[in-house]
């Protein structure tokens, strides 16, 4: 009965299995592509924040309220940089990495672009303290943002940290790449099995 069924519908069964296999492999590929794209954005956002930290250290170390043009350029540049970081964060949301860093970015922007009040500007010792605080806080905030973003990425796209057999079956079984490979093997095996039944 099996032989009769396979001789009539064998090709359809094989085609069906191949389609399902193709879908699984396609899905796994999509996952890998998404991961790679998200990784690029994560890298870019990290480097933008690093730039912001670096320029903040340089700017606030040499801050002088009278250098108005220089201050204008730095404040504008930093505001635009934060807006760019925000739009990258929105893109990462589309990849399922929910950063939720809006308030952190407002705080970071304030650290970069909020100038000292006039009383502080008039007392050099106070201004020195203010500048030091700005440098330390902006660096701390920037690094904490980088950590948060990278942690969210790793949380969404888990890294393979142990050899295949060690994590078998918990992680591997759920891994789309593994499922695709396994399904491919089964399809090829079934295909040859059907062929051998038909030929015998």
């Amino acid at each position: 009965m099996v032989k009769e069924f396979l001789s009539n519908y064998g090709i359809l069964v094989s085609a069906g299995l191949l389609t399902i296999g193709w879908f699984i492999i396609f899905n796994a590929n999509k996952y890998i592509t998404s991961r790679n794209e998200a990784k690029v954005y994560t890298k870019d956002i990290t480097s933008l924040i690093e730039d912001a930290i670096e320029s903040s250290i340089e700017f606030w170390s040499n801050f002088d309220a009278d250098k108005k043009d220089l201050n204008y350029i730095f404040f504008k540049k930093s505001s635009i940089l934060i807006s760019k970081i925000r739009s990258y964060a929105n893109i990462l949301n589309l990849y399922g990495i929910n950063l939720n860093i809006n308030l952190d970015l407002i705080e970071f922007k304030k650290l970069l672009t909020f100038s000292p009040d006039q009383a502080t500007q008039n007392f050099s010792s106070e201004l020195k303290k203010y500048k030091k605080r700005k440098i330390v806080k902006s660096e701390k905030m920037g690094l904490s943002l980088i950590t948060k973003i990278n942690n969210e990425f790793i949380d969404k796209y888990k890294p393979t940290k142990s050899p295949l057999l060690h994590s078998f079956p918990d992680r591997i079984l759920k891994n789309p790449s593994f499922q695709g490979s396994l399904y491919g093997i089964i399809v090829i095996w079934v295909y040859f099995k059907i062929g051998s039944i038909l030929l015998s």
């Binding site: 204008y72 504008k76 635009i80 407002i106 672009t113 909020f114 100038s115 009040d117 006039q118």
Partner: protein
């Protein structure tokens, strides 16, 4: 301008566009140059609020971004420096923009002053 009569007081709703003040709002103090937050607060916002009017402030139409200095000095310092209460500002000053990040940022600065004031009250009572 829309007017609303409440008892004996006529309260008007005044629309202000930041772009009419400056396309490039920047800086805290008048000494920072054109388009600073202090001047906008003192010359544009406070007179209307002192008349008892409510404000609808349109933030759109500027060249690029708002810096923290301008936003804090113009809006949050209505509470710190002009003596308005947080609730009063929240009730009488509405912000409008297509960019929700700016609205969120202003809210953040207003909340910051609120927390500062609450902390001060706690310290005084303690």
């Amino acid at each position: 301008m829309e007017a609303l009569l409440l008892g004996d007081t006529a309260m008007a709703e005044v629309n202000l566009n930041v772009r009419d003040y400056s396309k490039d709002p920047f800086g805290r103090y008048k000494t920072d140059g054109e388009g600073n937050g202090e001047e906008y607060r003192i010359d544009y916002l406070v007179p209307e609020l002192k008349k008892g009017n409510s404000l609808i402030i349109d933030l759109d139409g500027i060249n690029d971004e708002y810096g923290s200095s301008f936003l804090v000095e113009a809006f949050a310092n209505l509470i710190r420096k002009e003596g308005f209460k947080y609730e009063e500002i929240k009730c009488r000053v509405k912000f409008r923009s297509k960019n929700t990040d700016w609205l969120e940022e202003i809210d953040y600065y207003l909340d910051e002053v609120k927390k500062e004031n609450q902390g001060r009250i706690l310290l005084n009572n303690g």
